[in-house]
């Protein structure tokens, strides 16, 4: 096991690199919320497209022109209802969706002016209005008497639970952690989900009732999949990816080499971020959203030199062009074609990392050039993907592939009473919005199955 916290306070690993005030400023909203006039002007830019491409590009099928039209007419409750009835986490998605690759990428305004409608900001404007004012939009249908277990209180699990509750079912949500929300609470960059938004949104969602929460309950420990199938009419697995991929280097567990996801979780849970231990020279290994997030947040915490080392070329990077630009804007260096070779340490802590310099070939493969490069590092963040913890799922006939749960288009697994969604399923795209959609689709399918012939 590797170390997940920075313990030693040395010359190069320190807290209070920036003042409290500086840190607060750094972690304020990445995009300030729209004022009323900004929202109205932006809403006016929407053409109210037919069979709108933006809606098609939204993984959760939000009727974008529909909700924007309601913003135009000051019908914010109607706008929020359009959003939240498709995506109950519309507030978080407004903050963390890579819109430049989703709805906004599809906006027809890109065609003639390269400037899409700011769908994400408008979505936030609409959803904030009901969340801030506690406007109740959903109520439970007549009790069906059916009970469903949901494992995991991330966006997938809670989305599923909420929809099932609306449909009149009784839900028990189990989560291994004490705090609900999954990566909404522990993972999303602090400048995307500011203040205590994740919990505010959860409170709003759970206000529907009919959802019983059991924290500190881990599948495979306190509860088993077998028992859940026996006790409940249906089970939804939304347990995300519980562990991270390792570099598989010799001295990977030396001090200073840590999981990015774990560090971010700690960062999200710390109210006095100036007290966090921060390295001076930081190397981030990886090329996805997590790599960008840890790099940028390290900079915002006061790290001096932050370098992302990615194995392949720029275009292969999972992080979007926009995110790469965001990193560069924060003075993060991105070095392509660097594959981890070895960790170099002095006495107790990592001091540098050596990489093989790679070259991309036309067939997409990469090969070492024979050259190598060493980067100074007091902290090395591992951000090379997460993995499903399969222990709790192992002794069942649950079909897995490539370490993920196999589901059909209704998010149903190979087991009769079990559905799954979010990061834990095969071919998931590791986005909050997709997790929410999975939960919703599974709930619809569960409801159909349970109420058949009723």
């Amino acid at each position: 096991m590797s170390n997940n916290k920075l313990k030693s306070e040395g010359v190069n690993i320190q807290s209070h690199r920036l003042s409290k005030k500086e840190i607060e400023d750094n972690f304020s909203d990445l995009h300030a919320p729209l004022t009323q006039i900004e929202a109205l002007i932006e809403a006016d830019r929407c053409y109210f497209c037919y069979d709108a491409p933006c809606t098609k590009a939204c993984p959760s099928d939000i009727d974008v022109p529909g909700f924007i039209q309601s913003i135009r007419s000051d019908n914010l409750t109607g706008a929020a209802e359009k959003i939240l009835s498709e995506n109950i986490f519309g507030g978080m998605c407004a903050r963390d969706c890579p819109t430049e690759e989703l709805c906004q990428q599809a906006c027809v305004r890109n065609d003639h002016e390269d400037k899409p409608v700011e769908i994400g900001l408008l979505q936030r404007y609409a959803t904030d209005s009901v969340l801030d004012n506690g406007v109740k939009l959903f109520s439970r249908k007549k009790d069906t008497g059916k009970s469903i277990a949901v494992v995991g209180a991330g966006p997938a699990g809670i989305s599923c639970a909420h929809r099932l509750s609306v449909l009149g079912h009784n839900i028990t949500v189990y989560d291994a952690k004490d705090k609900l929300g999954g990566l909404n609470e522990y993972g999303i960059a602090a400048y995307k989900s500011t203040h205590d938004f994740a919990q505010q949104e959860l409170d709003y969602i759970l206000d529907i009732g009919g959802i019983n929460i059991e924290t500190g309950m881990e599948l495979g420990k306190q509860i088993t999949l077998d028992d859940l199938q026996k006790q409940f009419d249906a089970v939804f697995l939304g347990c995300g990816l519980g562990t991270v991929n390792q570099l598989n280097l010799d001295n990977e567990n030396i001090s200073g080499v840590i999981d990015a996801v774990e560090y971010i979780a700690n960062l999200r849970q710390t109210s006095n971020k100036d007290e966090l231990m921060v390295g001076k020279n930081i190397v981030v290994v990886g090329g996805g959203m997590t790599a960008i997030d840890i790099a940028v947040q390290s900079k915002l915490l006061g790290a001096e030199q932050v370098t992302i080392a990615y194995r392949r070329g720029k275009n292969a990077m999972a992080a979007s062009e926009y995110e790469q630009a965001l990193a560069k804007k924060h003075d993060v260096q991105i070095q392509y074609h660097l594959s981890p070779k070895q960790l170099i340490s002095n006495e107790s802590n990592v001091s540098a990392m050596e990489f093989d310099v790679m070259k991309s070939h036309n067939d997409g493969s990469i090969k070492a050039t024979g050259e190598s490069l060493t980067l100074k590092a007091d902290v090395v963040f591992k951000a090379i993907g997460q993995k499903l913890v399969t222990e709790g799922l192992a002794d069942n006939n649950l079909e897995l592939e490539k370490g993920r749960i196999v589901v059909d288009k209704n998010r149903k697994t190979s087991l009769t009473k079990v559905w799954a969604g979010g990061d834990c399923i095969l071919d998931g795209d590791n986005l909050t919005v997709s997790a929410v959609q999975d939960g919703k689709l599974a709930a619809i399918s569960i409801n159909e199955t349970l109420t058949q012939g009723a």
Binding site: L40, I41, A43, Y47, Y50, D51, P53, V108, D111, H112
Partner: protein, 433 residues
């Protein structure tokens, strides 16, 4: 550079942009600022009998706005001048003295008795003004007292009051018309019969802007109660243009000079009025919304436009479009247009499709092949109605193209260059054969 000077009824001004009788022309202070800013002339805020009227001490104005708070329409319940008669005369005299090259017209409104006109017209003219404008258009307040629109709505009154004014005035008399009528030809002909030198139009349109969504009273109110007011600004231009064109193409009135008013905000609006038969334009709302500086673009825009058209003066533009205005019954029913989409320009918003599909003729097909959206016109259904062109967000993306030959695939009729209209159409019970 084209010549912008204007000669309206012998009243000269350096450009055809006048300020209409309204708050911008309420007193010397405003008018001096207007002339400094470059306006060609003003019609002074309407004078009436003493004791002067009073205004409400609450909202006089309200607007219809776009979401970025651009004013589209403007409403007011202001009455005529609320200052003593002599104060206005004194200021007008001074202004005309200080600005001899600018047009200064006195807008007036007197009751329907000759003595009042006989008493006031000569002393007003004595200030040196270039002409009179008879306000037969104010649709609120004054009309309750038998003046303004109450006169403008009765052709006999128009004729009578015009005659009285002409009798006591030596300078030109313009009659300002109300649009709150059924057919503008009747008042226009009455002006002619009364001896008017010109008409100006339009004054404001009766209107209530909206309700207050909290109190569910009309909006705005004066402490809870409101009244209908006069509507003006950009939104009313099309209504005004029609009335101007009707007068300009009517046999009896076609030589009656027209001062065009209603929604003029840019030089393009002025081109509309001039080409449809007005000899100059008057502006109120645009100045009240943006201030006097707005005239600068009007002047350079019009001048550049005339240059581009190879016209040397404003006069060459006046009435240019009038011959193109006719009755519906004379439109060529043999002419066939079809919508054509420029696929290069099309941004695939689908608006043309859905409006045609839902509300028109189901003539724009939509295909979506794995996200590749294509919108195409079906000539066998397209009636050439122009709805798609009217909603397409991209300039010149859809155009109406006339069929020159062949067969209209919708009707199966052979295209002919021979025109034919309703007067001879077989479905017309009153057809002339």
């Amino acid at each position: 550079m084209a010549d912008l000077t204007s000669n309206f009824l012998g009243i000269k001004s350096p450009n055809p942009f006048w300020l209409a009788s309204a708050p911008p022309t309420d007193k010397a202070y405003n008018v001096n600022r207007a002339f400094e800013a470059g306006w060609g002339g003003v019609s002074w805020k309407t004078l009436g009998e003493d004791p002067h009227i009073v205004n409400v001490n609450g909202p006089r104005y309200s607007t219809m706005m776009s979401n970025d708070r651009r004013v589209i329409g403007f409403n007011n319940i202001e009455l005529i001048t609320d200052r003593p008669f002599q104060v206005n005369l004194k200021e007008m005299r001074q202004v005309k003295r200080d600005w001899p090259d600018r047009a200064l017209v006195a807008s007036v409104m007197f009751p329907m008795n000759e003595e009042s006109w006989a008493k006031h017209i000569p002393i007003i003219e004595d200030t040196g003004i270039d002409g009179f404008e008879l306000n037969f258009g104010c649709p609120h307040g004054m009309s309750e007292r038998g003046m303004g629109a109450a006169v403008g709505q009765v052709p006999e009154y128009i004729k009578q009051a015009t005659e009285w004014c002409k009798k006591y005035a030596t300078v030109p008399v313009i009659v300002k018309l109300t649009p709150n009528i059924t057919d503008v030809i009747y008042p226009a002909e009455a002006c002619l019969e009364g001896g008017a030198d010109a008409v100006s139009l339009i004054n404001t349109i009766n209107s209530i802007m909206r309700v207050d969504y909290d109190s569910l009273t009309m909006f705005p109110t004066t402490g809870g109660m409101g009244t209908h007011g006069g509507y003006c600004g950009e939104a009313v231009k099309p209504i005004a243009l029609n009335m101007v064109a009707e007068i300009a193409r009517n046999e009896k009135t076609k030589n009656l000079p027209i001062s065009g008013i209603g929604g003029v905000t840019t030089w393009k609006d002025a081109v509309d009025f001039l080409a449809l038969g007005a000899s100059n334009v008057q502006v109120c709302t645009a100045a009240m919304v943006y201030g006097f500086k707005i005239v600068e673009d009007m002047k350079t825009g019009l001048s550049n436009f005339l240059d581009e058209k190879g016209m040397n003066s404003v006069d060459e533009l006046i009435g240019k479009a009038v011959p193109s205005v006719t009755d519906w019954k004379f439109l060529n029913l043999n002419h066939v247009d079809k919508a054509v989409i420029d696929q290069e320009k099309c941004i695939k918003c689908g608006r043309c499709h859905i409006v045609c599909e839902d509300t028109s003729h189901q003539a724009i097909n939509y295909s979506n092949d794995e996200g590749n959206r294509v919108f195409t016109v079906d000539d066998t259904e397209c009636v050439g109605c122009n709805l798609c062109v009217s909603v397409c967000p991209i300039v010149d993306c859809i155009t109406m193209v006339a069929m020159e030959s062949g067969t209209d695939p919708r009707t199966g009729k052979v295209i002919t260059s021979e025109p034919a209209d309703w007067t001879t159409h077989e479905n017309n019970p009153l057809k002339v054969s």
